[in-house]
């Protein structure tokens, strides 16, 4: 499934859309970035509440397909600008991390 379809099916807000045709492969959820770094896989969706720039470095290094900021976390301008510059797909949602993962499990 593509990033665009995930965005649409989950009703996500768009913070930055770099490549909507990117294929999604699996999901990882977590806020401890070192833990995410060691465990998330290439093309995973990352569901997290961690909205600092370091999240984007992790997404970029691991080649994640997109980042979903859960629980109504709002990225600031610096985050959005960096996502754009690094060409990382970033979405937002008012759903909890659990709810997002449950829905992702249904559609993927």
């Amino acid at each position: 499934m593509t990033v665009n379809s995930v965005c649409e099916k989950l009703g996500l807000g768009v913070c930055n859309l770099a490549d909507g045709e990117r294929e999604v492969d699996g999901v990882y959820a977590g806020d401890l970035l070192s833990w995410v770094m060691g465990h998330a896989e290439c093309s995973n969706v990352l569901v997290t509440i961690m909205s600092n720039i370091n999240t984007l470095a992790v997404a970029s290094l691991l080649d994640l397909s997109c980042v979903i900021l859960s629980e109504s976390v709002k990225p600031d301008k610096e985050f959005a600008d960096t996502a754009k510059e690094k060409e990382i797909n970033v979405f937002t949602s008012s759903l909890t991390t659990y709810e997002l993962c449950a829905k992702l499990s249904e559609i993927l």
Binding site: L32, L33, W35, N54, A57, L61
Partner: protein, 142 residues
Amino acid sequence: MDNSAPLEFHFVVDGNDFTSAGEASVEVKKILRRIGLDSEVIRRVSIAMYEAEINMVIHAGGGEADVSVTTDRITLVMTDKGPGIADIELAMREGYSTAPDNIRSLGFGAGMGLPNIKRYTDELHIESEVGKGTKITMSVNI
């Protein structure tokens, strides 16, 4: 590429800017991609270098990174003039961290950095002297 002439890259890691930490790792990843290396190899190098880079910023006020690529391996040497590590065995344990609370609130300081490095590299060698600094040498076989 031949073994006698490795590709070499040098980076300075700014210790004052936590938000830009990881830039050297992202740069190295791009280079390795351009060379056309296997994506699993690139992933392992990226994880190891990123954790070491973050450690230099959080714990040592920045430092330098030297990367060399030969036909059979990628070697990363990360050097800093920080406080050093008194007990390396303890520092290697999962969950051990001396990171301050403000760093924890940014998602780091889980004490997983060195264990991640160990897990994703083929060789890891840490030399450290308290009050002088730390040199971490890592390699990933191609």
